[in-house]
């Protein structure tokens, strides 16, 4: 029975549903201490001294400062510029300075009020504008963490010949990942001096690498185990390395296990967010709607340290054109430093920012040249054989036009536009109604040569008992990794999926299959385990004459190839498909192996008295290649869209002096079941030859689409041109009053 393409149930579902799945805060360790973090109360300056209240009895507590770090005081990632604990310099609000642990949680928190750091304050740079204006020079000569240029053809000469030149500026804010399980890590040292870290995370091997530098330990002396993780969305890509370092330092000094679990306020205020961005478009268009030149400027706010910013910027720049072919393109992009907590990974990773601009700008172009925006999209949309801004030829699996047409049809877009235009003319109605559409692409896997550098390894093993195990460090964070991996392997081996087990993401048991990010888990890592499974099959068939389909049979076959060993692992490494070529210096070539495509139509109404936006219905069609499990894929699509609806309408992080002011779920508003509209979902399957069973990525794509569709629908409803997210009622009110 084919396992891929069926909606088998979530593998770890029963435990999650019964409350027996163990998240990090559900573990107890004998003698465990609870760790807390003392953080900076200024955005920028120098630490003069740290005063520990002499009247407080500190001997019950374990206290750690930067001086206690045995190795490098850095969170090792890309640029390695972020300290684990601030020593002298403070670069952002809530930067960790001191760690305290006690056996009782409340006592540990109490101790924080008996620590006082004295600072010499320096003027902070708090916004993109201040950073660009070099109010203070904080990084290099120009405050830029990273600059990237993409060029195709000649923008200047094409712009000069265009019938229309359309310009626009678009802005997007921070966004909080708001996983419902806060960050948490536990650490302890074994008797032999090796360090064990367990916790909520996306990338066990990132944590592993970071800890090696901090503790000066060799590979095998550090073991990182992912526990059941209550959501990540990028927010648990890099920050767990920081917390793991902290917990490890407290464990080292106290000689006891230490658990650090952030509360909601700390998690929201101190950890990473989506990068805010300003995106400017200048587009040359022919009378018939053909795009002749796209001149795009992308400016992102990286926060105080580089962390993942260079790669976020890259993905943002690579998606900045939208899914359209244009012979002359220039994308100038830069990520600036500011004295705010570092921004990091969040589902979409730069693309939702630039695609919001690209898609809303299509609406603007359409209105300027007097063409229907759907026609404009049809005219320019990626087709098979199209060439992207980086010169990538789209050789296969291009469902852009199809998802557009299917969405239009399913949502009755054209009829509803007409109907609502009539509705809006009637002054007796208490609402304005609007329909908006957006079409995007999203590249799956690491950008450019990223996958080559990662050189991920993953595999399967066969045990003496006849068990097949999947060996990857890719984490289940809610998206369905366990389930689809079991499906991919059981499909390749033609085994019932119940005969395939998933090994724990424990660095002592599984190879480094790379981080669980970038919509790469199914397509890239899934591809590796499919290959490994086929290698295993071949080896078994060679030894046993056939591949048995029962556990007993497999055990007998295993005996023939194990030579007495308890198991044999078949590990394969990522191999770049021959036709993929990327030039890092010129920033040209095949930016991604393949793109997924998605379209959303939003049907909404705006209250004429309160300007509240209510979502009536949402239609989405997405080309994600072959769906291994369409129920889980739909879950990704609906869930990602819901996060993006929050981004579009409600999620509004407010900053003052670099501090997030609304770091609670009470005042940072994520969508509830009532806010979220019924969704009509269709999957279009354009198989990808290098994906397992033809699958492409689905994780991030849905996050890219709704923002511009919502803005377009509000434009249709109210006639207002809203170019900045989130589109809050007060913004609509101000705009209406200004008009």
């Amino acid at each position: 029975m084919p396992a891929a393409g069926t909606n088998i149930w979530r593998r770890e579902g029963p435990e999650k549903l019964c409350g027996t799945a163990r998240y990090i805060d559900d573990y107890t360790f004998p003698g465990c201490l609870f760790g807390v973090t003392y953080r900076s109360s200024i955005a920028r300056g120098l630490i003069k001294k740290i005063v520990f209240d002499p009247k407080f009895s500190w001997d019950e507590f374990t206290v750690v400062t930067a001086k206690d770090i045995p190795g490098v005081n850095r969170v090792v990632l890309i640029e390695n510029d972020q300290p684990l604990l601030a020593d002298v310099k403070i670069t952002h609000p809530l930067e960790p300075i001191v760690l305290v642990a006690h056996s009782q949680r409340h006592k540990a928190y109490e101790a924080l009020s008996h620590i006082r750091a004295e600072f010499m304050e320096q003027p902070p740079v708090l916004t993109i504008e201040e950073s660009l204006a070099l109010k203070e020079t904080l990084y290099s000569m120009d405050n830029a963490f990273k600059k990237l240029l993409i060029e195709r053809g000649s923008v200047e000469s094409a712009m000069a010949q265009a019938d229309f030149v359309v310009e626009g500026e678009y802005r997007v804010p921070h966004q909080e990942q708001a996983y419902i399980e806060n960050n948490g890590i536990a650490a302890y040292f074994e008797k032999d001096g090796s360090l064990v870290v367990m916790g909520s995370m996306q990338c066990p091997y990132y944590v592993h690498k970071a800890l090696k530098a901090v503790f000066k330990l060799s590979d095998h002396r550090i073991r990182v185990i992912q526990t059941t993780t209550g959501g990540g969305f990028g927010g648990k890509e890099d920050y767990p390395s920081m917390i793991a370092g902290h917990a490890g330092l407290l464990a080292l000094k106290s000689g006891r296990p230490v658990k650090i679990i952030y509360d909601r306020h700390e998690d929201m205020a101190a950890t990473t967010k989506r990068h805010p961005a300003i995106v400017r478009h200048k587009t040359g268009v022919a009378k018939d709607g053909r795009l002749l030149a796209q001149d795009i400027e992308v400016i992102m706010d990286g926060g105080a340290y580089a962390t993942l910013s260079p790669v976020v910027l890259s993905r943002g720049a690579l998606h900045a054109t939208g899914p359209y072919e244009c012979p002359n393109v220039r994308v100038r992009s830069v990520c600036m430093i500011t004295n705010t907590p570092p921004n990091g990974a969040f589902r979409g990773f730069g693309a939702p920012q630039t695609l919001f601009a690209a898609e809303l700008h299509m609406e603007k172009i359409a209105s300027v040249i007097g063409m229907d925006s759907v026609e404009l999209r049809r005219k320019n949309v990626f087709k098979l054989g199209a060439v992207t801004a980086t010169g990538q030829i789209l050789r296969e699996s291009v469902g852009a036009r199809e998802v557009l047409e299917r969405t239009l049809k399913r949502s009755r877009y054209a009829q509803k536009r007409k109907e609502y235009s009539r509705w809006n003319k009637n002054k007796r109605h208490s609402t304005w109604r609007g329909m908006g559409i957006a079409l995007v692409h999203h590249g799956a896997g690491f950008t450019g040569s990223g996958e080559v550098y990662l050189a991920s390894r993953a595999g399967v093993s066969l045990t003496q008992e006849g068990t097949v195990k999947v060996l990857t460090a890719s984490t289940e964070i809610g998206q369905g990794t366990n389930t689809i991996f079991a499906q991919i392997v059981s499909h390749a081996l033609d085994l019932p999926q119940t005969m395939v087990e998933i090994e724990m993401p424990d660095t002592s048991l599984v190879p480094d299959s790379g981080p669980t990010v970038a919509s790469r888990t199914c397509m890239v890592v899934g591809g590796l385990i499919e290959r490994a499974a086929l290698e295993m099959k071949e080896a078994v068939v060679r030894a046993a004459g056939e591949f048995p389909r029962t556990k007993k049979g497999l055990a007998r076959a295993a005996a023939k190839i194990l030579n007495g060993a308890p198991f044999r692992a078949f590990i394969v490494q990522y191999k770049k498909p021959d036709e993929i070529e990327w030039n890092d210096h010129a920033y040209s070539g095949d930016a991604y192996g393949v793109f997924s495509y998605g379209c959303v139509a939003v049907d909404l109404e705006v209250d004429r008295a309160t300007y509240e936006v209510r979502l009536r219905r949402l239609t989405t069609v997405q080309d994600i290649g072959r769906a291994i499990n369409s129920k889980l894929a739909e879950g990704q699509m609906i869930g990602g869209i819901t996060q993006a609806l929050g981004y579009a309408l409600w999620e509004n992080p407010v900053y003052q002096n670099g501090f997030m002011q609304n770091s609670q779920l009470t005042n940072y508003i994520i969508p509830t079941a009532m806010d979220t509209p019924p969704m009509d979902v269709e999957i279009v399957e354009k198989p990808y030859s290098h994906g397992p069973w033809g699958a492409k990525g689905v994780g991030e794509l849905p996050m890219d689409i709704p923002g511009p569709a919502v803005a377009a629908a509000i434009g249709h409803a109210t006639g207002l041109w809203m170019t900045e997210l989130p589109i809050l009622p007060e913004k609509i009110c101000r705009k209406i009053n200004a008009n």
Binding site: L17, C18, I180, M674, M679
Partner: protein, 159 residues
């Protein structure tokens, strides 16, 4: 202070700090870690339990208020080997992803279902509006609840 309470049909006597939060009493004193903490301020609903059948945020309740009360947590439903029908419906419909909001979501949903709540999506959405989920976008959760309500209606008709 001695507090007598019933948790998942078991009579318990709690002795300790009267202002300890119910969630901590459940998790620490009785090792019922199925109840999760997401925000600690009654906003996310991950810690929802039933008190005398009403869904409440256990992070907002001091245990002192629980004397003589009947508390049900997710552990009162099913076990992985023998799922409660609502849990099975969530599994079939894709109502759980990361799972951290799931126990609280199930308790709110079960309160709605067991009181004879309607199968209308908009009403179910209102009943679950106190439970935040960041993964699913709610649709599969709503569908899981609808399925059970409809099943129960069919059964009561055939009885």
């Amino acid at each position: 202070m001695r507090i007598k309470l019933t948790i998942n049909k078991k009579k318990r006597v709690y002795e300790g700090a009267p202002f300890k939060r119910l969630i901590d009493v459940l998790r620490e004193n009785y090792e019922l870690t199925g109840t999760k903490e997401g925000c600690g301020e009654g906003e996310c609903g991950a810690c929802t339990v039933l008190v005398d059948g009403d869904p409440v945020n256990s992070c907002l309740i001091p245990v002192a208020q629980m004397n003589g009360r009947r508390i049900e947590t997710v552990e009162s439903l099913g076990t992985p080997k023998s799922l409660h029908r609502l849990q099975e419906s969530f599994l079939r419909e894709g109502g759980a992803q990361c799972g951290i909001c799931t126990p609280g979501m199930l308790m709110s949903a079960w309160a709605w279902i067991s009181r004879g709540g309607s199968a209308r999506p908009s009403e179910i959405r209102r009943a679950l509006a106190g439970n935040l989920c960041r993964c699913t976008g709610y649709q599969h959760i709503v569908n899981s609840v609808i399925k059970i309500i409809k099943e129960r209606k069919r059964e009561s008709r055939t009885k």
